[in-house]
């Protein structure tokens, strides 16, 4: 089992140093610390294990260190910044692992950009030595890149010439869309195994600046200072991300607010989420006082862990069913309080975190269904989960012999833009792309508990069924879903979940799914004579030269 829970005292690959508003995040990968056997993480190359720690470090910077305004990303190795994803690992990994790995690393890098844009946490990448492939992509996720001008330090995306694949963490998209490198130069750059260094790297906008070794540290400090001046992070005390309580036994995973039950025969996981209780903080200071025990923060951490756990460790479980339970009114009250205090750094972090968890759901290649039943709590922030699903079925009316409250959907202000999807729109705006008037009708219903009939009429759920039809309809849907080709479902869902505008993020995920994953399957990359299989053997790959 791949475990995503870690903490700085157990890191093997990263070191964090804090000096006031500047933090150093140093990558110093332990060669022998690979997640699996069969490869060594040489030259600061990484595998999922390295990225799990990075992801954890970023979370801690956000929550535990509000005093940090700038993170300086650097290497702990002498002559290499980062050689990218470990190629031998990719050579031995299953296709599914590679795809999941790329998805997770993309989420981590998007998270860095999110931290800068929405939480004021800036990133400065201080590249000394080679930054190749995923190493340069890590740099690309930062606000600023400084490259040592020592004749040896280079940035490169050598995937095409060296490995017959594509950069897997948004490298090509960020080169053209974020750094706005001219497309023909980007073409030259992406076929140049040895990369680009010095002045040309600046001229082509691949990096922001170069500095000779003797001025490197001073330039880093200057750039960090400049970046810090653009940050609105407040300082003060953070919130300790205390260890999550998780119990995995048999086919159940139990957290405090989340419970996953796996039905292996049906290839289905049910994810049940508890809504908030009645007693909730009234303001940001009380949220801070609760710290990691605050409802939405705790829920985000638990659900986040459950998602990545299921993604990586339960590949056969093709359908996820979300249920919630609780009092919708409590959730709406909590949302209102959070909305009122969202300029507070911690509230902002928590809302941003929940946004990222929802995005993780969006890009999960599983069939997603929400079941809105009596006693459920699909309200406000929790209703977003239903909107993220491919289908949402709602129980309409009374259930015989059930004394729980009737099924309701409830909207809060947060449903209208605080949790944008990767396409930049809220889930509701995406849902009602063709009927903007519906979006406005929904806005007018904020705070109203909508029953099955009204929710169906408004379009918040796929269908509402009454007592007569519910069991059969839900069963048939789930059984039918499980009978389709998992590949075609992945493609279908990824196509339909993101209507509307393209953003850098949708491009990155879309192209990862479409192109990289296709190339990763092709014999030219992974066949017995393919480049990934032969990498490091010294024997050249043999290509099928036919263009497809």
């Amino acid at each position: 089992m791949i475990d995503f829970l870690t903490s700085p005292d157990t890191y093997r690959h990263w070191r964090l140093n804090f000096t006031g508003e500047i933090a150093e995040l140093m990558m110093d990968v332990d060669e022998n610390g690979g997640l699996f056997d069969g490869y060594q993480l040489k030259l600061n190359s990484y595998d999922l294990g390295v990225d799990i720690e990075l992801s954890d470090a970023l979370q801690r910077l956000r929550f535990e260190h509000p005093e940090v305004k700038v993170v300086i990303l650097k290497s702990g190795k002498e002559r290499v910044f980062c050689a990218g994803a470990n190629i031998r690992m990719l050579g031995v990994a299953t296709h599914a692992h590679k795809v999941n790995f790329c998805k997770f690393t993309n989420e981590t890098r998007n998270g860095m950009e999110d931290a800068s844009e929405h939480s004021g946490l800036r990133f400065l990448c201080a590249v000394r030595g080679t930054a190749a492939g995923g190493g340069y992509e890590l740099a690309l996720a930062c606000d600023s890149i400084l490259l040592a001008d020592d004749g040896n330090s280079t940035v490169s995306l050598p995937e095409v010439p060296l490995l017959a694949v594509l950069p897997g963490t948004g490298g090509l998209t960020r080169v053209t869309d974020k750094r706005k490198v001219r497309r023909d130069r980007a073409d030259v750059f992406s076929t140049l195994e040895e990369g680009v260094k010095g002045k040309r790297a600046v001229d082509w906008r691949l990096v922001d600046a170069v500095a000779p070794n003797s001025k490197f540290d001073a330039t880093v400090a200057d750039m960090a200072k400049t970046l810090a001046a653009t940050s609105d992070r407040p300082g003060g005390l953070g919130v300790a991300l205390t260890p999550l309580v998780r119990d995995i036994s048999g086919d159940a995973i139990a957290y405090s607010l989340v419970r996953v039950d796996i039905d292996r025969d049906a290839r289905r996981a049910t994810i049940a989420i508890k809504g908030p209780g009645a007693a909730q903080p009234a303001n940001a200071a009380e949220v801070q006082a609760q710290g990691a025990d605050f409802y939405l923060l705790k829920l985000a951490r638990e659900l986040d862990d459950a998602i990545v756990h299921l993604r990586f460790n339960e590949l056969d479980i093709g359908t996820w069913v979300f249920r919630t339970e609780g009092d919708p009114a409590h959730m709406i009250a909590l949302d209102d309080m959070l909305a009122a205090h969202q300029s507070h750094w911690l509230v902002r972090e928590i809302l941003n975190f929940w946004k990222r968890v929802l995005k993780r759901i969006d890009v999960t290649s599983r069939s997603l269904a929400a079941l809105v039943q009596p006693g459920s709590c699909f309200a406000g922030s929790l209703a977003e989960i239903a909107f993220a699903c491919d289908r949402a079925y709602m129980f309409s009316g009374e259930m015989k012999g059930d004394n729980r409250p009737e099924a309701r959907m409830t909207l809060s202000g947060l449903n209208f833009g605080r949790y944008p999807m990767s396409n930049g729109l809220s889930r509701l705006a995406t849902r009602f792309l063709g009927e903007p008037q519906t979006l406005e009708s929904a806005r007018a219903l904020i705070g109203k508990q909508l029953d099955g009939f009204d929710s169906d009429k408004l379009g918040l759920v796929t269908e509402a069924f009454d007592d007569v039809d519910w069991d059969d309809e839900v069963r048939i849907f789930l059984e039918e879903r499980a009978s389709f080709s998992p590949d075609s479902l992945t493609g279908l869902e990824a196509n339909l979940r993101f209507p509307g505008p393209e953003t850098m993020e949708t491009k990155i995920f879309g192209r990862l799914t479409a192109w990289q994953n296709w190339i990763f399957q092709r014999p030219n990359a992974v066949g017995p004579e393919g480049a990934l299989k032969r990498y490091g053997s010294g024997v050249k790959a043999a290509f099928d030269k036919q263009r497809v």
């Binding site: 001008d149 020592d150 004749g151 040896n152 010439p161 140049l192 195994e193 040895e194 000779p212 070794n213 003797s214 990498y535 490091g536 053997s537 010294g538 024997v539 050249k540």
Partner: protein, 489 residues
């Protein structure tokens, strides 16, 4: 040596152009122009970074006049800046093949195959970078030369390293377009030991503080150069092969300087010990009082330079080395003499590795173990020279033997970079190693002592008291020949 005809005679060295050559440069206007543009920058570099203080002196140097292995060199007095650096390639064999790797059996390439452009350029740039680096490292040594003979040898080595730079620059200018021109410029811009523009390889950024270091460098580090050149001489890219083959004829002299230099130091020390009746070579105080370098210090210097030179071979198991071989770009030492399939896709090679806390032999795929193999050949080659040094000691009756340290000792690169080992290969803690360091590597005190001996000896036929004269001089001249006519400005 006059050749006024512009017509190029195959194989002869053409001195009609500014740049002597045997490749028909006169008929290749583009490359000639590129090299002529590079030339002033090179001279600037030589004047700034070349031997300090002797640029106006007449030095008895050899200059290549043909590539005939028997009579290629001509000796005469030259002022170093007037040295005719040129481009000399071993003769072309029209039937030469790619002799190893996936393209084995194809005709050797006369142009750079597009797919190997980056790899070849990198190999040539790295090789090229070492040549000016050693000149830079040695530029202050003239001031403390122990004799005119040694001074001349130093300068011969220097001008030839300069010529080797030309050889690599020619390849870059001729075959690699704009990138090649930029790299050729880069070779003049980097500086040994400069924190901002260091030379590419670690050992070439170390200081060469004294003549003992110089001899050790030419013995150990130039021998790495020889091994690299030997393996590049096997290249399927024919111009590289031809360049390196000719460079090897010059490189032999550099190692001769190192081996005989140390040999003469040993001889002088042992004779002085015998004369003074000192039996214990480890009684360094007594030996040093004689004004000669004690044998344990020589061993420490050898330990240092051997370990630094081993790092130049890179990681024992290397994907790059495998790729270079399979692509037909860089072969093994004596490739064509080795009895195997020269493809190596199914072969293994034993590699000394650090596994589970122990140093052990592990069979690795032969392709990825090529650095290890070349290093093994190198160690064997070094061992031969050390054996000859021990003969010098033995002949004097002093009871002492020099030894090569373990390959695990004092390493910065490869399997043993993260462990500490003694010269005899015992693993130890870092604290213990640091405690023993000065027993095994030159201490600052050793350095000071050596420096105290480094006083110039520029009288004709005179030799500094810490080194014996050579048995014979250069070009059959005696030890008392005026090898350098020092011009004091």
């Amino acid at each position: 040596m006059t050749n006024s005809s512009a017509a190029y005679v195959d194989g002869a060295v053409d001195y009609s152009t500014n740049i002597p050559n045997n490749i028909g440069l006169v008929n290749d206007a583009r490359v000639l122009k590129a090299l002529e543009q590079w030339h002033p920058g090179y001279l600037d570099w030589w004047n700034q970074m070349g031997p300090e203080g002797f640029q106006a002196s007449d030095v008895y140097l050899r200059t290549a006049v043909s590539i005939d292995p028997k009579g290629w060199a001509q000796f005469g007095y030259v002022k170093m800046p007037d040295y005719r650096w040129g481009i000399l390639l071993a003769p072309q064999d029209p039937n030469r093949l790619v002799n190893f790797g996936a393209s084995k059996g194809e005709k050797a390439w006369q142009d750079v195959p597009g797919e190997h452009r980056a790899s070849l350029r990198r190999l040539i740039v790295i090789q090229g970078d070492t040549e000016p680096a050693s000149v830079e490292q040695q530029r202050h040594l003239g001031a403390t030369a122990p004799s005119l003979y040694d001074l001349r040898n130093l300068f011969q080595v220097n001008v030839e390293e300069g010529r080797h730079l030309w050889a690599m620059v020619y390849l870059l200018q001729k075959f690699f377009g704009r990138d090649g021109r930029e790299e050729a410029e880069g070779l003049l811009q980097r500086r040994s030991g400069d924190p901002d523009k260091p030379r590419m390889l670690g050992a070439f950024n170390e200081a060469t503080p004294d003549w003992l270091s110089f001899f050790m460098f030419t013995f150990f580090t130039d021998r790495d150069g020889k091994m690299q050149l030997e393996s590049l001489a096997q290249s399927g890219f024919d111009p590289l092969s031809r360049s390196c083959r000719f460079m090897l004829t010059e490189e032999a002299h550099h190692m001769f300087v190192g081996e005989t230099g140390i040999g003469r130091v040993l001889e002088r020390t042992c004779e002085a010990m015998k004369k003074a009746g000192i039996e214990d070579p480890h009684d360094t105080a007594k030996v040093r009082a004689l004004g000669v370098i004690d044998l344990p210090t020589i061993q420490k210097k050898a330990n240092l330079h051997f370990s630094l030179s081993l790092d130049l071979f890179g990681s024992e198991v290397s994907t790059n080395a495998a790729n270079f071989y399979n692509a037909g770009l860089k072969g093994r030492f004596m490739e064509t003499k080795i009895d195997d399939d020269h493809v190596l896709t199914n072969a293994t090679y034993p590699v000394l590795k650090f596994v589970d806390g122990q140093i052990r032999m592990v069979d690795e795929p032969a392709l990825t173990a090529l650095n290890m193999r070349l290093r093994d050949d190198y160690v064997k080659d070094c061992q031969g020279g050390v054996g000859r040094w021990n003969k010098v000691i033995e002949k004097t009756g002093v009871n002492f033997q020099l030894k090569l340290p373990s390959v695990a000792f004092h390493r910065q690169i490869g399997e043993f970079a993260r462990v500490e080992a003694s010269p005899d290969g015992k693993l130890m803690t870092e604290a213990d190693w640091i405690r023993m360091r000065d027993q095994w590597l030159p201490s600052s005190e050793d350095g000071e002592f050596i420096r105290s001996l480094m006083r110039p000896c520029w009288e004709i036929g005179q030799y500094a008291p810490w080194i014996a004269p050579p048995k014979v001089g250069i070009d059959s001249k005696g030890a008392d020949f005026e090898y350098v006519a020092i011009h004091r400005a």
